[in-house]
């Protein structure tokens, strides 16, 4: 998709927090081209209103909220502001399958690799400037950690390293968007691979690892078969860990979600690789 978009007139490359983009593009019509590691993406903007967020790394594509979450997970973005003429902007909307008003829900791209839909921005979401928009949808945190390095807030200009060849971000995003899911983390004994949602990643990882240790200790003694999941119900909600591909998944949910629903999500995830 990116290569089919008009080039536009480059106003220059820069590095700034994601919030800078929304606060400095009130009169801007064009595209913000974002580069993170070996991946690239863009934000299509019409006078401060983000029309579409998109990011691609290898075969993985993020669109809408998941791309926005991903951009916002980086303290600093490296990007190029490219101004569009009216004709170029109209053409860009066509390429992105967006109606001319620029406020229609974009269609899913054809080759996303999985038959799963990720929630895309709604017209009402895009009616406002980005800061309001992020408040309105209760924007969640997405953190992707590299093998050896955690993101450092203090790093001013270096885009954060990511590992993209692990769990599918789209599936994780989709689970995060299910009713009752507060946070979701994919982790292993060494690290947090992905974390999305309204929770601090480090404390959640610590709890998830403790639960995993308990599960690993008790499973052979209980002789009830292979481990499927461990769910702790506390007054605030549920904490769940379960095997997920080569890693484990940790879910934090509200009390409104019942055990039957959790089992269905986990069963579908473990059997089909996607939630119901």
């Amino acid at each position: 998709m990116i290569e089919r978009l008009p080039e536009g007139k480059s106003l220059g490359w820069m590095q700034a927090p994601p919030t800078w983009i929304s606060s400095h593009t009130v009169r801007f019509i064009g595209i913000v081209r974002v580069v993170i590691q070996d991946g690239e993406g863009f934000i299509l903007i019409k006078k401060g209103k983000p029309i579409l967020h998109y990011f691609k790394h290898g075969a993985i594509e993020l669109k809408g909220h998941s791309a926005l979450d991903y951009f916002n997970s980086h303290p600093i973005l490296e990007f190029n502001l490219c101004k569009y003429t009216t004709e170029e902007f109209t053409y860009a909307l066509k390429v992105c399958n967006i109606e001319d008003q620029g406020l229609e829900i974009p269609k899913e791209p054809e080759n996303y690799g999985h038959s799963i839909s990720v929630k895309t921005p709604t017209p009402s979401d895009m009616d406002t400037d980005l800061p309001e928009h992020t408040q309105k949808i209760g924007i969640s945190e997405t953190v992707i950690f590299s093998q050896d390095e955690l993101p450092k807030e203090s790093s001013p200009v270096v885009p954060q390293p990511v590992v993209f060849d692990e769990p599918d971000l789209k599936i994780i995003s989709q689970i995060k968007n299910l009713n009752g899911i507060v946070a979701i983390s994919v982790f292993n004994v060494k690290r947090n691979v992905i974390m999305m949602g309204d929770a601090d990643s480090e404390p959640l990882l610590k709890i998830a690892r403790t639960m995993l240790a308990t599960a690993e200790k008790t499973t052979p003694q209980l002789k009830c078969g292979s481990f499927v999941h461990l769910t702790l119900q506390i007054p605030e909600g549920n904490i769940i860990i379960a095997p997920y591909r080569d890693n484990h998944i940790c879910l934090l949910t509200t009390r409104t979600i019942n055990i039957g629903h959790i089992r269905r999500i986990l069963r579908d995830l473990q059997q089909n690789g996607a939630p119901p």
Binding site: K206, T210, L222, C224, V228, T231, I234, G260
Partner: protein, 131 residues
């Protein structure tokens, strides 16, 4: 026939009250075992059908209870409402009765969890009164 009825009637009368309550869980579809257990894994009362609880099993239950309480304490300083551990063949439902006593249900995966949790809510008070 009358003899048999009398036999079961006398068995019911002789069955300790706590066991009678636990039997309400055991008669639920695919429930295999019901145990009132102390935090250290000591069995207070149990009733089972087609399953055995050896020392390893009870040690694991004790570990599960203690670890779960510690995790809940660390997470939000909150009490555990329920621990649910599922395996490929069975699942374990562990609900606190008092500070030191828990009710453990072991059932096959096809059992109705909603029905079991409903029975737990309905009978907890009575079980606690007998401890």
């Amino acid at each position: 026939m009358r003899d048999t009825d009398e036999y079961y009637t006398s068995m019911k009368q002789e069955m300790p009250m706590l066991k009678k309550i636990l039997n309400k869980f055991l008669i639920l579809h695919e429930v295999r075992g019901v145990i009132v257990v102390r935090e250290n894994g000591e069995i207070i009362e149990n009733i089972k059908s087609g399953i055995e609880f050896d020392d390893n099993f009870m040690n694991a239950v004790s570990t599960l209870m203690q670890d779960s309480k510690a995790i809940a304490d660390n997470f939000s300083n909150a009490p555990i409402s329920m621990v649910f551990m599922e395996f490929s063949e069975y699942f374990l439902l562990l609900g606190p009765l008092t500070e030191k006593f828990f009710l453990l249900i072991i059932a096959q995966n096809t059992a109705n969890i909603g029905q079991i949790t409903y029975e737990i809510k309905k009978n907890t008070e009575e079980i606690v009164s007998l401890l």
